[in-house]
């Protein structure tokens, strides 16, 4: 085992993507090396965090999985260029904004969360979307609603395979019950 263990090796170790003998050698090393054990713990923390994450821009399968795990979500169907007031009920974990649009032919979707005066609060380049369902899903957690101002605009920038771009804006006022 070459110490310190390379990051890629730690990821492969943590994801059980190594031959058993190699994994066992790393295991033995981790019990003797504080530095590598600490580095592995950091990789583990990320991995275990991802295990529970609901992506802020999600797909239907992510939402279904979260529901199956007991996460309480409230879904709002929203159309572009209309202002919506949405309420996160007490006891719910997420508001999911199903942003409707025509995603046929869309190659990439970049998504921004802005204040009404245009300041960018968060950006999600190359975000996932469901072209067949004609929607991008934004999962807005209670934490986000504490981080961001209640009134926000979500701007979708779509680029098709020819490079043509178009945008759609959703203005959403968030309220906590």
């Amino acid at each position: 085992v070459n110490c310190p263990l390379e990051f890629e090796l730690l990821v492969r170790y943590w994801t059980h993507d190594l031959p058993e003998t190699e994994a066992e050698a790393i295991e033995e090393h981790l019990f003797t090396c504080a530095q590598c054990a600490s580095a592995t713990a950091r990789v583990a923390a990320i991995g275990e965090g991802v295990r529970e994450v609901v992506p802020p821009v999600a797909l239907e399968r992510d939402i279904a999985r979260a529901r199956a795990l007991g996460v309480i979500l409230v879904v709002n169907d929203l159309s572009p260029d209309e202002e919506a007031i949405v309420t996160l009920p007490r006891g719910a974990d997420f508001l999911v904004h199903r942003l409707r649009g025509d995603f046929r032919g869309t190659r990439t979707l970049d998504l921004e969360v802005r204040t009404p005066d245009g300041a960018v609060l968060a950006s999600f380049p190359d975000a996932p979307f469901d072209a067949d369902a004609g929607a991008a899903l934004v999962a807005c957690s209670r934490h986000f609603m504490e981080l961001f101002p209640p009134e926000a605009q979500i701007v979708l920038h779509q680029t098709d395979s020819s490079g043509a771009e178009r945008s759609a804006t959703f203005t959403i006022v968030h309220e906590l019950e």
Binding site: R12, D17, E48, V50
Partner: protein
């Protein structure tokens, strides 16, 4: 785990004449038999081993409460064996600890139920050094950082950690090569770690 008693290990009477140093924590083991375990080098030993034991158990069992139980159980076993002078090579107590962990995890997988009477001083000691619950990242920050990854990179990580897909399965699902999946996966993990541990997203 129940290895033979080792004549080379310091007995209680001999313990002041032989003081090997642990490779894992650097402490002397000469006070293994100190009546008050909370003041002994055993505490240092357990403090050094506990996070590694928990990490090992979490990787194998994917369950934090099971990992915490294994940590407690392993530390008690190590303390008891140490006090009894039954660790074969005290210079490599870390290897002994790994052996204990492997044994315990195998027993958990076989569904064996443990019904042990813990020696109270050992339990007190091990409870003191148990690491806090596994490092919890700020969920909102992690989500925001996660959202900044490319859609394909997000999918690779979600399939890896939420679906427990291996590289070959992910490659099939996303029409990539397994080698490419591994590259994407570790780069995405690295980017996520930098974002989570670094400046706000």
């Amino acid at each position: 785990m129940d290895g033979p008693r080792n004549a080379g290990l310091p007995s209680r009477k001999e313990s002041t004449t032989h003081a090997p140093t642990h490779t894992c924590c650097g402490c002397s083991m000469r006070q293994w038999s100190t009546p008050d375990l909370r003041r002994s080098p055993l505490r240092m030993l357990c403090s050094a081993l506990a996070p590694r034991i928990r990490l090992y158990a979490l990787r194998h069992l994917r369950d934090e409460s099971a990992a915490a139980d294994i940590t407690q159980e392993a530390l008690i076993t190590i303390v008891e064996r140490a006090r009894e002078g039954r660790i074969e090579n005290p210079d490599h107590v870390d290897r002994f600890a790994l052996g204990v962990c492997r044994n315990l995890v195998a027993r958990v997988r076989r569904g064996e139920v443990r019904t042990r009477r813990f020696e109270s001083a050992a339990r007190m000691l091990t409870e003191e050094v148990l690491p806090p619950a596994f490092t919890r990242l700020d969920a909102a920050r992690l989500a925001l950082c996660f959202g900044q990854l490319r859609a394909r990179d997000q999918r690779v990580l979600l399939l890896t950690f939420q679906e427990d897909f291996g590289a070959d399965d992910i490659a099939t699902e996303l029409s990539m090569s397994p080698g490419n999946v591994r590259v994407v996966r570790h780069r995405a993990m690295s980017a996520l770690q930098r974002c989570v541990e670094g400046a706000p997203p």
